[in-house]
Amino acid sequence: MPDYLPHTDEDITAMLEFLGLASLDELFAAVPAALRLTRDLALEAGLPEPDVLARARARGRANRAAELICFAGAGAYDHEVPPVVRQLASRSEFVTAYTPYQPEVAQGGLQAIFEFQTMVSRLFGLPIANASLYDGASALVEAVNLAVGATGRHRVLVSAGVHPNWRAVLATFAAGTGHQLVEVPLVEGRSDWSAAGPEEAGAVVVGYPNYLGCLEDLGAARAAADARGALLAVTADPVAAGILKSPGEWGADVAVGEGQPFGTPLGFGGPYLGLFACTSAHVRRLPGRLVGETVDADGKLAYVTTLRAREQDIRRERATSNVCTNQTLIALTAAIHLGWLGTAGLADVATRCARGAQHCRRGLLALDGVQPLTGTTPTVREFALGLPVPAAVVQARLADEGFLAGVALDQLVGEDGDGSVGAEEAPNALLVSVTERRNRTEIDRFVAAFDKALR
């Protein structure tokens, strides 16, 4: 009967007596007897910690992917998580704190988020950044909600180059908000805005790079937005942002992204980190928490969550968003990781990824029957290929050689295969990604194994 409860039998007796109760059961007198569960839960009895750990380890061993050299990306990347970041981010003061309702005893967490906001703001080239959203997909949903709210227009042009899972999430939530989503097709890996009607719109959404790894023409996207009275929302890869012009510089009104690459492990997809930045014009529509600087009673610098009147606990049904619990710890991790990378490091990581991807792409395209899916459009850190055999077959064969070969494009959205979204997601299409963790030897071995797998 292992547990974490401090109550001794005497405690329970004394406390019940103080309450005038005869048994613990009587504590639940308010629960109608007819509702009470009269059997044990159909769960096992409690297991001691070492047994639970052993089980979790066994499940871990059943995840063959954990051992493979990773060439998969598509919004979740195998970047280095340095021990120093891991150690700092796991300090229990950060891990076991709640939302900073009492700023006097939460200056540590508040200041870290203030620094996080500053870093995201600089990264995206926009003056306002919030304290985090759930993940890239939810940040996109909030961005669209903001744009629709700001413009009063429900029509939303979404490039087919936006991550298909994110588009799927957007579509799910649009059922509630009533946004009308218009998919804008890709041509050679770039959005063809001319294919979208000229009607007014609330938002134009484009990826940078997009999910096929391609650099979109954000000038064209901005023009498409302007022509329709829409805000421009960019879903940006925050690592590539280290060498690319920022969304802000391109004129984006809102930029969102997936912050996982900054110190957070792959973790089968979560917890990740929704990054959100926007222009000052929209600060009062900002979803989620925002930390601001102020002073204490002695005039000393202090931090506090601010513009709270936007939030659900105060504004309720008129709040800018329903988000409450967010991803603070992951944001703090990202702030530490970005502090560790620093100015030079972020640029270096991005450059390294690009170098590795270029080398890998060149090698794979030299293989028989392998074609680029996106023509000659420039890519940065990942790229999409057409294969002569189904991607799933290549994945399976390469797994036996020790590699996670990439992401099969028809596998996104519905892992049971029902979710193909566009032409480029044919069963033979594979998205390959290279991070700074992949060295030349690994890439060359990967290409050689790939060659073998195609035969």
Partner: protein, 504 residues
């Protein structure tokens, strides 16, 4: 010159100064990062990125040594209260002690180093984790099936409302209203709006529960459903829940159960047995994922049989093994009439793995004990402090109890807010203040089951001392022991400085 990264004057152990921001500690050219050896050729950026896409300058982040980074973050951590330092009786937040074994589970390479798009055959351990957690949560909630995708309670709520909507539409209907009690958590109404519904608020009665009469008056066939928190945010069990559910069902609505407070009823009573159609659970409250200063959490949504087909997908399912002696296999499946994805991948997976570990280590018996002890602690405090603070709804509570400092406020001028600040000086994190909104000067105390009798006594005595200080008009200055004194929140909103760059 930049500030000194090796000066500890902001650590409460030795000083009371402010901690410089990392940007002030920064010094051009200083670095801490290291990248692995690559062996690749080193083409310049011009060969990698077309000029029109290249940024002209690197992103200006901080430039600090690893040593200064560590000093900075460690000092910040000393400026942060946490459960591991002391009790954190924030009502509605369930700040219990989180077993460290769950951290160890989440840190396992076999779980944390798996790409979310890995083919199912290569991630069997993860699919098993998800499938088993879904089963356990359904058993705890008394429901048929669940999605583990929602990343938090609010995301679960919205998912639930979209399920309501899809169910409605499948019936060819288009109802417009959702009913919420006035005591509801703010996420409920906000989610209703995002779900495309209008909020109809129903009042609480003098017992602190839904006024069933008032409810009946607002029920009609435009009502898609009702969201009910149980135990509600006053810490009270909605005794009429079956009657309420029946009434909602009578008009063709669905019953949504906000299960954020499930901690109080684990193994005692199940939402599914109360006539509930949809329920979300806050794993980061009940199943002890630490709150991380505000997140991450996880807000799975469980539904009754008739809604299972609408759940988000894909879900991990246990497959029929090929032969009787074959090991279990798992696969993905998306429900037939799924509303679609509500998360970019599979939800906050490592949080889900923690929750499963928590459930396994507690087991059926331990989870029941959790509920019993949580309720015992709250009731003991209620009784003990009844003479010190007002108890607006004076009857047995569940896992939390709402006091009112209104009489103290009236008598002494010290509000619930002041009492909270005074309590900090006593070495405790204060309770939740000013929520629920329907109680004046609310102080909402949730001791949780992991705090001992001795801690409860110490907390009660501390509150008594603080109220005594209020009587002596000594609270205006509180807190005095903290790195900063009372913080000017109004000024922060008035003169917005949301980034270092906005500093003047």
């Amino acid at each position: 010159m930049s500030a000194a990264g090796g000066r500890a004057a902001s650590a409460p152990l030795v000083g009371r100064e402010s901690e410089p921001t990392i940007f002030e500690l920064s010094r051009p050219g200083r670095t801490s990062y290291q990248l692995p050896t690559s062996g690749l050729e080193e083409p310049g950026l011009d060969e990698l990125v077309p000029p029109e896409h290249r940024r002209s300058e690197p992103v200006p982040l901080a430039e600090v040594s690893e040593r200064d980074l560590v000093g900075h973050i460690t000092r910040l951590s000393h400026r942060q209260y946490s459960v591991d330092l002391g009790a954190y009786p924030l009502g509605s937040c369930t700040m219990k002690y989180n077993p460290k074994v769950c951290d160890a589970v989440a840190a396992l390479a076999g779980l944390s180093e798996v790409h979310p798009a890995a083919p199912a055959e290569l991630a069997q351990g993860w699919l098993a984790t998800l499938a088993e957690l879904e089963r356990a949560l359904c058993e705890l909630a008394g429901m048929a099936a669940a999605t583990l995708q929602p990343a938090a309670g609010a995301a679960g709520e919205l998912t639930g409302l979209l399920l309501m909507r899809a169910y409605d539409e499948a019936r060819g209907e288009r109802r417009r209203r959702v009913i919420i009690p006035d005591s509801a958590h703010g996420t409920n109404p906000a989610s209703v709006t995002l779900g495309g519904y209008e909020v109809t608020t129903v009042k609480s009665d003098e017992r602190g529960c839904v006024d069933v009469g008032a409810l009946r008056q607002v029920l009609d066939d435009d009502v898609a459903g009702m969201m009910l928190t149980n135990p509600n945010t006053l810490g009270l069990f909605e005794e009429d829940i079956v009657e309420i559910a029946d009434a909602v069902h009578e008009v063709g609505g669905l019953m949504y159960y906000d299960g954020a407070n499930l901690n109080a009823i684990l193994g005692v009573v199940r939402p599914g047995d109360m006539g509930v159609d949809i329920v979300h659970l806050n794993l980061h409250k009940t199943f002890a994922t630490p709150h991380g200063g505000g997140g991450p959490g996880a807000g799975p949504v469980a539904v009754a049989e008739h809604l299972a087909d609408f759940l988000p997908g894909p879900r991990a399912l246990r497959l029929e093994p090929a032969g009787p002696d074959d090991p279990p296999r798992y696969g993905w499946a998306t429900p037939a009439r799924s509303i679609g994805r509500v998360h970019g991948w599979h939800g906050n997976a490592l949080v889900l793995a923690r929750a499963l570990a928590y459930i396994e280590v507690h087991g059926r018996d331990g989870l029941l004990r959790v509920a019993e002890r949580a309720v015992l602690n709250a009731n003991w405090l209620r009784r003990r402090l009844a003479g010190t603070l007002a108890v607006p709804f004076d009857r047995p509570c569940m896992h939390e109890v709402v006091f009112s400092a209104a009489p103290v406020h009236k008598r002494t001028g010290a509000s619930a807010h002041d009492v909270a600040k005074g309590l900090i000086d006593e070495g405790f994190h204060p309770p939740t203040v000013a929520f629920p909104l329907i109680v004046d000067d609310a102080l909402m105390v949730e001791p949780t089951e992991t705090e001992s009798y001795e801690t409860l006594v110490a907390l009660a005595e501390a509150i008594e001392r603080v109220v005594a200080r209020a009587e002596r008009h000594e609270l205006a200055d509180a807190p005095t022991t903290t790195p900063v004194r009372r913080v000017d929140e109004a000024r922060a909103a008035r003169t917005l400085i949301p980034t270092f760059d906005a500093r003047r």
